[in-house]
């Protein structure tokens, strides 16, 4: 049984009115229509989804963007239901990675139901799918409590889950450190890229740093990053940007 969760930014928005009608018709044609839940101010997305799962929903499809996914990620992973999405509007990086086109074209991808299992990362207990970015990075990283890594100059840190990870279903993340290195007589700065596979790491910084998990900002001096024991089953398109 399918449950479709409409984010509040697409409801009553003329820009999406026609597209929503097309989507609803196409889902009915494909025989995968289901219960529609509408997000609104003061309505808790997790509670809404949990109620639907209790009533027998096995596939949760969000209509919205990366922010919508963030609202239901915890409950989807914990309940082990299948996750799908119909991307609408800007900020749809996850849909791109999963190979799901925007709007009504996503309905056929849902109907084809190509399922993949992916790992989910956590940073300080908060789940993430695509990865983490630390743009201004001058901190110490401890990998697997075994060895420490320091950039010797200003660097950027990216932790990838889907793209770049050796196999997103295998349970490894990938850390990419891009450090500034000066070369030649003119001391031109180039970015050198270090790549380390990992299952857990800790970032420690003397001063608070900004970390972006799936695009959402977090600030602090310590970030514990690891992999969730529970994996997530997602519907993907054939144009997904990761290998399994």
């Amino acid at each position: 049984m399918y449950c479709y969760l409409y984010d509040d930014f697409i409801q009553g928005n003329k820009r999406f009115e026609k597209e929503l009608a097309l989507i609803e018709n196409r889902l009915t044609d494909l025989g995968i229509n289901g219960k529609i839940s509408r997000l609104a101010l003061f309505r808790n997305a997790e509670e809404m989804i949990r109620d639907e799962i209790d009533k027998g929903v096995t596939t949760v499809v969000v209509l919205g963007n990366d922010d919508t996914v963030r609202k239901v990620l915890n409950v989807v992973v914990e309940s082990q239901v299948v996750f799908g999405m119909i991307p609408l509007g800007p900020k749809n990086q996850l849909a791109e990675l999963l190979g799901i086109p925007e709007g009504v074209a996503a309905c056929d991808i849902l109907s084809a139901r190509r399922l993949e299992t992916i790992v989910i990362g956590t940073v300080n207990g908060r789940k993430f799918i695509t990865g983490i970015n630390v743009p201004q990075f001058r901190a110490e990283i401890t990998f697997e409590e075994k060895f420490r890594v320091f950039p010797t100059s200003t660097a950027e840190l990216e932790i990838r889950n889907l793209v770049g990870a050796s196999n997103p279903s295998e349970g490894m993340l990938q850390a990419v450190i891009r450090a500034d290195v000066k070369r030649g007589i003119f001391q031109r700065s180039t970015k050198e890229e270090s790549i380390l596979p990992l299952q857990s790491m800790t970032i420690r910084s003397e001063k608070p740093i900004q970390v972006f998990a799936d695009g959402e900002q977090m600030e602090g001096t310590r970030f514990d990053i690891s992999i969730e024991p529970l994996k997530m089953r997602v519907i993907t398109g054939k144009n997904r940007q990761f290998d399994t």
Binding site: K146, V149, T152, A155, E192, S194, Q199, D224
Partner: protein, 120 residues
Amino acid sequence: MFGKQENSMAHQHAGSETIIAQGVKVEGDFKSNGDITIDGELNGSLQTSAALHVGESAVIHAEVSAKQSVIAGVIVGNLQIEDGLQLLSTSQVTGDIVTSHLSIAEGAVVNGRISMGKKE
């Protein structure tokens, strides 16, 4: 999140390549099952069951163990290379070497004992 035992296994399960580029320093016990390329600095110990490539800009102070290795940088520490070791002309090794096959280019510097054949 994970128990200690799982943590200790983490990098041993990594089959993909690890790259330590210039501008990055590693301290501690580094273990992998995948290929490793080092162009930065490393202090501690380094172990892989696959290939190790040490670039010209690399400076390593560590006990090193690998299946096969090509070295162009500086290593201070003992090397145990199972299958074959290639020391390029820019390499400088201060430490004992144990390997089954060895190739040393002109200009390479080795200060230490060299034992050929697999370690008992």
